[in-house]
């Protein structure tokens, strides 16, 4: 039965790790802004090829034309 005591101790230790991780995250300011990171993650990595980019903007402007008409 004494194995239960070992499990309890392990349980507390694991839970404490999470508690300290949470407190560290709070102190670190990770809960200050719960919105911006959700947008940030969607940004592409910097694309170096320039043509790729101007193609995209080209598309946009065409779309705009179609909205207008």
């Amino acid at each position: 039965m004494s194995v239960v005591f070992v499990l309890i101790i392990i349980g507390i230790l694991v839970a404490s790790v999470f508690l300290f991780a949470f407190i560290w995250a709070v102190r670190n300011g990770q809960f200050d802004d719960s919105y911006t990171p959700s947008v940030r993650i969607l940004f592409d990595d910097p694309v170096s090829s320039k043509e790729n980019q101007s193609d995209l903007t080209e598309d946009k402007s065409q779309k705009k034309q179609s909205i207008k008409s």
Binding site: I8, A15, I23, D33, Y35, R40, F43, S48, K64, I67
Partner: protein, 814 residues
């Protein structure tokens, strides 16, 4: 709360009735002659410059995340070369920087124009534009960007100029110099919730075996271990997490008041002592799970209530409005000095779009001063050399020189602000119904506990103490304490979603108690920016209106803009020889025809209508004067309906700083002559509110400008109507988006519904209490009953409050 705005491209496209192209950068109409660069159309030089800059740095992605994300700056908004010269001043630099170690500095800017994903992307990639920037990150809800940069590669001034060059103008004011440590309390609360949750979940685990059938066969070793572990875990919960409840209970006791925190504190302490006794005497393992659970739930309630609108400020004072530095004119040339070094007798230079920081007289130049922040009236006032000007006006037009009469601290505006500060500390005096309820509640609970104790003392003295403590335990008003945070918190969120922002949840109860509603006129019930424009004189042909529109298109004067917007036809002609004469008018050749538009004196040479109460703009085309545009107050949509609705349950008043020209128009709405007050100074307004409230009637003041600041502060609830909620608003309790003005009465009336929900939630929590107490007085309160009943009551109340507020909002179509 502040989700990214959907591209307003479609809306703008609908507005364009012509086949003009839209600007790639900002999405505006490009007019008949767009600027073409790289085969793309732009509405103005400014937009094109930003595009070019980004294009040359391979940052076109800005335009692909969101269509037309750019910010358009009007010519008068583009900062002059030395506008940011003050940022080179050592003391201002030190005030603004968050951190600096000589090599690397960190600064935070508030940029109200941050509005979309592209903004975030661009501002976080500033390092591509300048290698001096190490890192930048955006806090979107706060509309803030914090930038780390190398001092030897870029100065603070260059950094701000870099932001200005991509049209993200940071708002730098006196207030940005004093950085308040804001997020601190929120962080502590979150940490407390974490610890309480940790304690709650673990103790629950240890208590669980006790609740199972056959628990009596559990070995003593286990029971002892679980009991003492729970005891250890609940110590930090009681001492750290619940410390606020003890503090406030103690504070209000010292003021001879009973707040809801007192029964909570008693309940928690009794729970802890009773459980410790049970564990120590090996009778059981106590109620530690219920205790930690209570604290955990109540902290969550606190957190739910504390969420606020971070980008809005309800506490602004004149400091957030004033510049940090002014240009001083000395015989040796112009120097920049910090605002607080300004002395009476100094000569200062105020350029176009700059603010007059203190009371002064005009030394040189034509002033045309927009006092809209002060009075709500956006049509500029013309002033000449020698005239006295008050602080708070914004100069429109060419630069003027002023002779300072008073130091900033003594100016009219600052005095106005400082005259009444008493509201800040009356908060503790009124927290309303919760306090009243908890007074009776506490007394009733204590007397039940005592009588149960006394009864058992005679019937079965072994049970006496237990009966006494268990009444205190089970009656711990957790559910009661959660009612207000969740009912009002949900109401506040729903209001925010509809464009009505409250400072905190207490405002809802104050709104509920309102008996009188006082309106300001200009900018509050009338549109601040647009007026009703009517042309008087010869009937204008389509051709003539097109000519007029083409000419006013080039002027940035508010009256020109208003005329521009009132004419639906597109801009059709090029203008040559355009000239703007400050405080008089504009002139130019359109399609070969000479056009003058401006004051009567400018257009006709006659000054007969100068005393006219209403604003007029005269028009001259080719060889004759055609007539004038008359500007009238344009009342907000739905005003009549809103007033009629409010009239049924509130006493309505109007106090305006304006002349009486609108009295007859407003009389049918307000019905009573005595309640319409014109020519009121800011101090009159304040006293008016004071008098009203002296008769015991809580007043709601609805205003918009600094001249209402005193009245807004004095009234029980100060509400500000704002066209742009991120712009300057005086200190207040609530901000209403101007386009939601027609729903005002629905918001106010909904507070009654919220209050009814609060009463119902109280009822539910009392029912649970009666059930619990019926166990407790019999001396039968076992840990399992407490462990089920207490969380259950909290969850029921929270679910009921949130659900019914959301349901009622839908049903009443708020």
């Amino acid at each position: 709360m502040f989700y990214l705005q959907k591209s307003n491209q479609q809306l703008k496209a609908q507005l364009l009735k012509n086949d003009h192209q839209t600007c790639i950068h900002c999405g505006d109409d490009c007019g008949p002659a767009p600027i073409i660069w790289n085969n793309k159309p732009f509405c103005c030089q400014g937009c094109q410059t930003v595009y070019q800059l980004l294009n040359e740095n391979q940052m076109d992605q800005y335009y692909s995340i969101q269509a037309a994300p750019g910010i358009k700056l009007n010519t008068d908004q583009i900062p002059s070369d030395d506008k940011f010269a003050y940022l080179d001043l050592e003391e201002i630099r030190n005030g603004l920087l968050d951190f600096s170690d000589g090599g690397v500095s960190k600064v935070r800017f508030f940029i109200p124009t941050i509005h979309c994903a592209s903004c975030i992307w661009l501002l976080e990639n500033l390092h591509t534009l300048h290698r001096g920037v190490i890192q930048s990150s955006v806090n979107f809800p706060k509309k803030e960007v914090s930038i780390t940069f190398r001092d030897d590669e870029i100065t603070l001034r260059q950094l701000v100029e870099l932001l200005a060059s991509i049209h993200y103008l940071p708002e730098i004011s006196q207030q940005s110099m004093e950085k308040p440590e804001k997020g601190k309390t929120n962080k502590t609360l979150l940490a407390k919730i974490g610890i309480a949750g940790f304690g709650f979940l673990n103790t629950m685990l240890y208590h669980f075996p006790q609740y199972m059938p056959g628990s009596e066969h559990l070995e003593t070793d286990f029971r002892l271990t679980f009991g003492w572990l729970s005891f250890l875990l609940s110590i930090p919960v009681l001492i750290y997490c619940a410390s606020d409840y003890f503090l406030t209970a103690w504070k209000s006791l010292r003021k001879k008041m009973i707040s809801i925190d007192l029964p909570i504190a008693i309940g928690l302490v009794t729970l802890f002592l009773q459980s410790t006794y049970e564990v120590a005497s090996d009778q059981g393992i106590g109620y530690f799970d219920s205790m930690t659970g209570l604290v955990f739930f109540m902290l969550i309630g606190k957190w739910y209530q504390s969420i606020t609108y971070e980008a809005l400020t309800f506490e602004r004072d004149y400091k957030s409005y004033f510049p940090v530095a002014v240009t001083k004119v000395t015989p040796e040339g112009n120097t920049t000095i910090a605002l607080n070094e300004l002395k009476a007798g100094d000569r200062i230079l105020v350029r176009n779009q700059e603010l007059i920081p203190t009371d002064a007289t005009i030394e040189k130049g034509h002033a045309s001063i927009d006092y809209s922040f002060v009075t709500g009236e956006s049509i500029p006032v013309a002033k000449n050399t020698g005239d006295f000007v008050f602080a708070g006006g914004r100069q429109m037009g060419s630069a003027i020189e002023l002779l300072v009469q008073k130091e900033v601290e003594q100016s009219y505006l600052t005095q106005l602000w400082n005259q009444d500060k008493k509201k800040a500390d009356d908060k503790s005096a009124m927290s309303g119904i919760m306090d009243k309820v908890s007074q009776y509640f506490t007394l009733v609970i204590i007397s039940i506990a005592l009588s149960a104790g006394i009864y058992w003392n005679f019937a079965d003295s072994s049970k006496a103490l237990f009966a006494f403590t268990s009444v205190l335990i089970i009656a711990c008003p957790c559910a009661l304490a959660l009612t207000i945070p969740f009912t009002f918190g949900t109401t506040m969120r729903q209001f925010g979603r509809k464009g009505f922002y409250l400072k905190n949840t207490a405002v809802i109860e104050k709104l509920y108690r309102i008996k009188t509603v006082v309106f300001d006129k200009t900018g509050t019930i009338t549109h601040a920016q647009s007026s009703k424009i009517e042309f008087r004189g010869e009937k204008l042909s389509d051709e003539q209106t097109r000519l007029i529109k083409s000419l006013v298109f080039h002027s940035t004067h508010p009256l020109s803009k208003a005329i521009y917007e009132s004419i639906p036809e597109p801009v059709s002609y090029e203008v040559s020889n355009f000239k703007e004469i400050p405080s008089l008018g504009i002139t130019g050749l359109v399609n070969g025809k000479k056009i003058n538009i401006g004051s009567q004196y400018f257009v006709t040479g006659d000054q007969s209508s100068a005393k006219e109460l209403k604003t007029q703009v005269w028009v001259f085309i080719e060889n004759k004067t055609l007539g004038y545009f008359q500007f009238e107050n344009n009342y907000r949509e739905g005003l009549a309906k809103t007033i009629a609705n409010l009239q049924t349950s509130y006493e309505l008043h109007l106090i305006s700083g304006d002349n009486e020209s609108e009295r007859l128009n407003l009389l049918p709405l307000f019905q009573d002559h005595a309640r319409l007050n014109f020519n009121q100074s800011p101090t009159d307004k304040l006293n008016y509110i004071k008098n009203l409230q002296q008769n015991g009637e809580d007043a709601l003041m609805i205003g918009d400008g600094l001249n209402d600041a005193g009245a807004l502060n004095e009234s029980k609830v100060g509400l500000v109507v704002a066209d742009n909620i991120y712009n300057f608003t005086p200190a207040c309790d609530a901000i209403l988006q101007a386009e939601k003005f027609a729903s005002l009465h629905r918001f106010i009336q909904f507070t009654k519904t919220s209050m009814r929900i609060v009463w119902l939630s109280f009822l539910i929590s009392f029912l649970y209490n009666i059930v619990g107490i019926s166990f407790a007085v019999q001396g039968n309160l076992s840990p399992i009953i407490a462990a089920i009943l207490m969380p259950l009551s909290s969850v029921t109340v929270v679910a009921f409050a949130t659900f019914s507020v959301n349901f009622m909002v839908k049903r009443k179509q708020l």
